[in-house]
């Protein structure tokens, strides 16, 4: 066990200290930061020149108009108070437009000047402010009592009730959950299949393996190697998990994202629920069985540059699983989805479809997981047993021939 520990430590540290691992970890975070940065900057710019200036014949008139517009939550720029100033600011793209407010013969008049037409929302806001102002003027001219004024100010009530949203929302949650899971597994598999095969192939070409096998059994070395690579993968998932949680915790503090979070809280919680469930176990087991297969592929070639060629069988299986699951994810009761959800190498892609859509019983789930665990253990045991023969056989030959030669050496 101590020697397996030494191999695990060596494999793990060598991988996580490499630049490629650091880049792999940082890429999604850098991507997210860039996304937030760009949206923040564009929103910042928008706030800056998306506002309207208010111009009026007198300061009192202007104050009253600004107050009415603020009540309607119109974005205002109060720096430009005269018509020439506003005109210049519009020319310099400092504001999106300006409103000239005046009252002629007891009638409130708002005139908008801008380079683009007003959005429906802003137009409504301006109109509402004008109505409010006009009403105040009318009330004052009519000299109404407060009771009469209150009666005239009474507005109708309108409420919107949307029913049956949970069905659609559930569908969206399921779709997003599955797509996230599928793409996450696909990219992890591509990364770790290539890494494992490359690592094993580069070692195989060297005589250091003879020195290592004179210190520990090839079986133990293989177990240590696979465990080390799995720990690297789990570290990556853990960092993503912690990073994701940190972003989730920070989101409410960022005004821009807080609204989004509030709006989609149910959806996000639903997706997280699907991700942090049995599906994650299928992802981990899927990565494990493919890592073992990739190790076998890597052990069949003598040069690291041939590792990509050697992993083709594993890549074909991944592609079949990925594309099949992508095509059939909306058909959880399809015969092939049911069949493939029990076949190792494919069940990691297809069983999550059935789990997310709740079309499989607990027994079915455990049966599939049991088959996958047994297949993974069986494959690991078998390859560990022939590993010494495969790695110590360094003659260049075809993959199948190399495999046959390897299993006859020991």
């Amino acid at each position: 066990m101590r020697k397996i520990g030494v191999v695990i430590k060596q494999t793990y540290l060598r991988q996580v200290k490499s630049w490629s691992f650091v880049a792999l970890i940082l890429t999604p975070f850098i991507f997210l930061l860039l996304m937030f940065g760009i949206s923040y900057l564009s929103v910042g710019n928008a706030t800056e020149n998306d506002a309207l200036a208010v111009v009026a014949s007198s300061a009192t008139q202007r104050q009253a108009t600004v107050k009415a517009l603020k009540t309607q939550q119109v974005k205002l720029n109060r720096r430009y108070t005269t018509r020439p100033q506003a005109k210049q600011a519009l020319k310099n793209d400092k504001i999106s437009g300006y409103v000239v407010a005046q009252t002629k013969a007891q009638q409130v008049q708002f005139q908008y000047y801008g380079t683009t037409a007003l959005s429906k929302r802003t137009k409504n806001q301006l109109l509402a402010a004008a109505v409010q102002k006009q009403q105040a003027l009318n009330f004052s001219a009519a000299a109404l009592t407060s009771k009469q004024a209150a009666a005239l100010s009474r507005a109708p009530s309108f409420k919107q009730h949307v029913i049956n949203t949970s069905v659609d929302k559930n569908k969206t949650i399921k779709l997003i959950s599955f797509m996230l899971l599928l793409f996450m597994m696909y990219f992890i598999l591509l990364t770790y299949t290539a890494t494992t095969a490359q690592e094993i192939a580069s070692e195989k070409g060297t005589k250091i393996m003879e020195v290592i096998f004179s210190s520990t059994k090839a079986e133990n070395y293989f177990y240590g190697k696979i465990t080390g690579i799995l720990l690297v993968m789990l570290t990556q998932l853990l960092i993503y998990g912690v990073g994701g949680m940190a972003i989730y915790a920070l989101t409410p503090r960022i005004k821009l994202l807080a609204d989004f979070l509030k709006q989609h809280q149910t959806l996000i919680d639903g997706v997280l629920h699907h991700l942090l469930s049995f599906n994650l176990v299928y992802v981990v087991l899927g990565v494990l069985i493919y890592t073992v297969l990739a190790a076998l592929c890597g052990a069949l070639v003598t040069r690291p540059e041939d590792a990509t060629k050697a992993t083709q069988p594993a890549m074909y299986l991944i592609m079949i699983g990925f594309l099949g699951a992508l095509a059939l994810n909306q058909a959880p009761n399809n015969f092939f989805v049911k069949l493939f959800s029990y076949i190792p190498f494919l069940s990691s892609f297809f069983m999550p479809i059935r789990l997310i859509n709740q079309t499989v019983s607990a027994w079915g789930n455990f049966a599939s997981m049991g088959i996958l665990v047994l297949a993974t253990c069986g494959l690991t045991f078998y390859i560990s047993h022939i590993y010494s023969g495969l790695v110590l056989q360094t003659d260049e030959m075809g993959l199948l021939k190399s495999f046959r030669r390897g299993i006859t050496i020991k």
Binding site: K207, E210, I212, S214, L392, I409
Partner: protein
């Protein structure tokens, strides 16, 4: 003691080893000799359990298992290290696999680097060292855990005479410590200089084995090195002379039997002073050629 009994190995239809028998005693160096492809490396791989074989390999009356690995030091034929690691990282990793603690390795590594005159420090990357210095690091990895059985597959290949002498001294030091040393080499001078015993393998079979001096002597002192004014033709015409080979200002004469030595001496010297007359058994190279060519 390491005993190899009735060791046979077949790859497909090709029989590589056939009933190999020999042993290695503590504190002795055994040279395993043979042409390329004679099966030397296959014997090493069998001892290390890399391959399946027929026969028995017994160490102190028990079959070799993983538990014995910590007591073995193995230097393979081709040198290979993890070039991205530093010297210390590489030695610590391999020593850890032999059961040594990191703390102990760190403590004794500088002494080894000094003893082998490695040009480069413990913190240097393996890739930055010269080929010869990398070879020394690999030797340190082989010996640092003070193994009881040391297997060296052509340890001197690629080394200059100074480093060869340095390595020879280290091997002799290990012998003095009581280690069993089994090594192969194509340079018979190296073998003659440090081996106590030899095992000559040809076509998968043992052709010769035993103490080196005894083996040489069992061929008889039929080899005479002589410095004389006589011509080669005159020497060749002497009775019981098999062959005459000029070597610079001397001749190497092979005679039918060592008992004819005094007779040849009398004929060559003619009762006069001659500078050199040395009757000796054949060299290991000559024995090797004779046995392998047969």
């Amino acid at each position: 003691m390491l005993a190899i009994k009735q060791l046979s190995k077949q790859f497909g239809t090709k029989k590589v080893l056939n009933q190999i028998d020999f042993s290695v005693q503590p504190g002795r160096i055994v040279g395993l000799l043979g042409k390329n492809g004679a099966g030397k490396t296959t014997i090493f791989h069998s001892i290390l359990n890399f391959i399946q074989y027929q026969g028995q390999i017994v160490w102190d009356d028990h079959q070799l298992t993983e538990r014995d690995y910590d007591r073995i030091g193995y230097l393979p034929e081709e040198r290979s290290l993890m070039t991205k690691l530093t010297v210390a990282q590489q030695v610590i990793y391999l020593a850890n696999l032999k059961g040594m603690r990191t703390k102990v390795v760190k403590k004794i590594l500088p002494d080894w680097l000094t003893a082998l005159q490695v040009k480069g420090g413990a913190a240097d990357k393996i890739a930055s060292l010269s080929k010869g210095n990398q070879q020394k690091i690999q030797l340190i990895c082989t010996l640092i855990h003070q193994p009881d059985l040391i297997i060296l597959d052509e340890p001197f290949s690629g080394l200059d005479p100074l480093n060869t002498a340095l390595l020879r001294n280290i091997i002799l030091r290990e012998k003095k410590r009581g280690a069993m040393i089994l090594f192969s080499d194509h340079n018979m001078n190296n073998v003659e200089n440090i081996c106590d015993d030899i095992v000559l393998i040809n076509q998968g079979q043992v052709r010769l084995k035993g103490e080196m001096i005894q083996i040489r002597e069992q061929y008889g002192s039929t080899r005479i090195i002589v410095e004389t004014p006589l011509k080669a033709a005159a020497l060749k015409s002497l009775p019981h002379v098999c062959s005459v080979t000029p070597i610079r200002n001397r001749y190497r004469i092979i005679i039918e039997d060592e008992k004819y030595g005094p007779e040849i001496f009398a004929a060559v010297s003619g009762g006069q002073y001659i500078k050199a007359f040395d009757q000796q058994p054949p060299t290991l190279t000559e024995i090797f050629k004779q046995e392998v060519d047969q």
